[in-house]
Symmetry: C2
Subunit: 157 residues, 2 copies
DNA sequence: CAAATTAGTTATGAGACATAACTGTTATGA
DNA sequence: TCATAACAGTTATGTCTCATAACTAATTTG
């Protein structure tokens, strides 16, 4: 019944159908970008999630873990180990929040701020590298399209 | 130097710095898109990875597991359970490859093909939904930028 | 034909994330 | 007021995805 099952030893596997979907292209693009970003952050002892957390703490000094978790789209429980990690390396401090002894206020140390600035320079270079060769109009279009997709995806709950 | 640690109870957490990076925007856009896609595929008993595998088998009948794994950017070992799953539901068959008794030729069953076509209709609707509101020029720009980023990310090994 | 290689598989571990249950603190309302 | 509910952070645990290493059987190579 089954055809002699054409020998696929030599011909490459095509993904024409999947290439027709934005989601597929986006996943592949993001995976490639992510690999480069991981390599970029590694020398600083940072992962994507710890860099992001640090960035939000720098920008929102005194932020509480639960609100930080929400901003990072992860559960409070999982943020604990991330803050543990940042605190252990003395890049971030947990101080009791004024007016609510249940909560903590997260803040950057000087060392944390220094590391963040250095890492940010590398991340900016990485970001530029990913977009190298695109014209400004195209970069702007990408940004717009991404924020559009983000909103459409969230909305369609 | 640092301000009295403004009480962050009410004001929202901002991510202005991170928003400046394509990677951050891409991660968020993809996460949102992914959530919608998972919901789209769930009624068919498919996950993103099983749908992708099915699509590649449909397009490359007789493909071998190792080449399929490569095309999906995952290790041979991890493809086994995926093909197991597709085979158990009788959507895909493993037949001994002609000329090499170590290898298998993967092929879709009629039921598998039918399911794939139905799921594909839903996925196309999902894809259109994610891009709804963007003009054709902008969709084209997104595609171009994504393939650009994919190439840049891969290249910079 | 012995040795190395290859295809598929199994077992196992790491990493990211979710859920449930716990402690201590604050808020609510009968 | 004070029992109860709600909340912030934490701990323990399970799931899902993916990587690595080791195994079997078949094929290639020198």
């Amino acid at each position: 019944m089954t055809k002699p099952a054409e020998d696929p030893k030599s011909d490459p596997v095509t993904d024409t159908r999947l290439r027709g979907f934005v989601g597929y292209n986006m996943k592949r693009a993001f995976n490639a970008l992510q690999a480069d970003l991981v390599r970029t952050l590694e020398p600083f002892g940072l992962r994507m999630i710890t860099y992001s957390a640090l960035a939000l703490i720098v920008e929102n000094p005194g932020v509480r873990p639960s609100r930080l978790a929400e901003a990072l789209s992860l559960k409070r429980a999982n943020l604990v180990v991330i803050v543990d990690e940042l605190e252990e390396r003395e890049w971030v401090t947990r101080t009791v929040a004024s007016g609510d002894r249940r909560a903590y206020a997260l803040q950057c140390t000087l060392a944390g701020r220094k590391l963040f600035d250095e890492a940010s320079t590398a991340v900016r270079r990485h970001d530029a590298r990913m977009l190298q060769g695109l014209r400004d109009v195209e970069k702007a279009a990408l940004r717009k399209a991404l924020s559009h997709v983000e909103a459409r995806g969230k909305g369609a709950g």
